[in-house]
Symmetry: C2
Subunit: 132 residues, 2 copies
């Protein structure tokens, strides 16, 4: 059965629509709202739901397939698969880049006028979810 | 006197170089390593230091000037200025987008194989810095 993906994108943002789809779906995959064996909507249907060109969704699905999250099916559907954990060798370098991006994102939040204590609270609540 | 900016960029990343410069400098501005009144290197000098075209640095400086962090000077230098806090009206919408990006970034970190507890620790240490 097809799973509703429950994502939304904002075409006004600078981030390309396909990237927004990938990022939003990756959250749902990592957090296991979408589990191995579940079917995703066809490219055409999701494109209609999000009001984007079907090539945009096709590109997002290809990227998620390359990352090992989904398997593309005939008729342009896709199934969530059990993802092999990435090799530890890739992580040390990644880890540094991600830490920097995290710091940059927090700086952007502060620059946009968000209250520091509010940001801190969000960070703590994300940390708590990871520690469960 | 010119302040060394101490940033580094990675031309192998998908993120454009000018964006990396903006993001990295914004961290230093928000964290007040760079303070109002301090001079930044000229466009040409920073371009040389980072091995990028001077237009790349010029674009980054223009963006930081638009965000209200720096004032561009003749001869393509720039001075850090006291930034007016953004209007609260802009924040509610921003806040939701940033929270989503934070969640997406954490999902990317986990997807790359980083240990959940390690990520949690980083989040907590960022939170702690904000609470000071």
């Amino acid at each position: 059965m097809e799973e509703p993906v429950n994502i939304s994108i904002d075409l006004k943002l600078a981030t390309p629509a396909y990237r927004q789809i990938v990022d939003a779906m990756r959250v749902r995959l990592v957090e296991e709202d979408l589990k191995p064996g579940q079917m995703l909507p066809t490219v055409r249907r999701l494109a209609m739901e999000l009001s984007v060109h079907f090539n945009t969704v096709a590109q997002a699905y290809r990227e998620l397939a390359e990352e090992g999250w989904i398997e593309l099916k005939h008729g342009r559907g896709a199934m969530v698969i059990a993802r092999r954990a990435p090799r530890p060798a890739e992580n040390a370098e990644n880890s540094k880049i991600f830490s920097e991006r995290l710091r940059e994102l927090v700086a952007q939040m502060r620059a946009s006028g968000m209250d520091a204590l509010h940001i801190a609270m969000e960070l703590r609540s994300l940390a708590q979810a990871l520690e469960r």
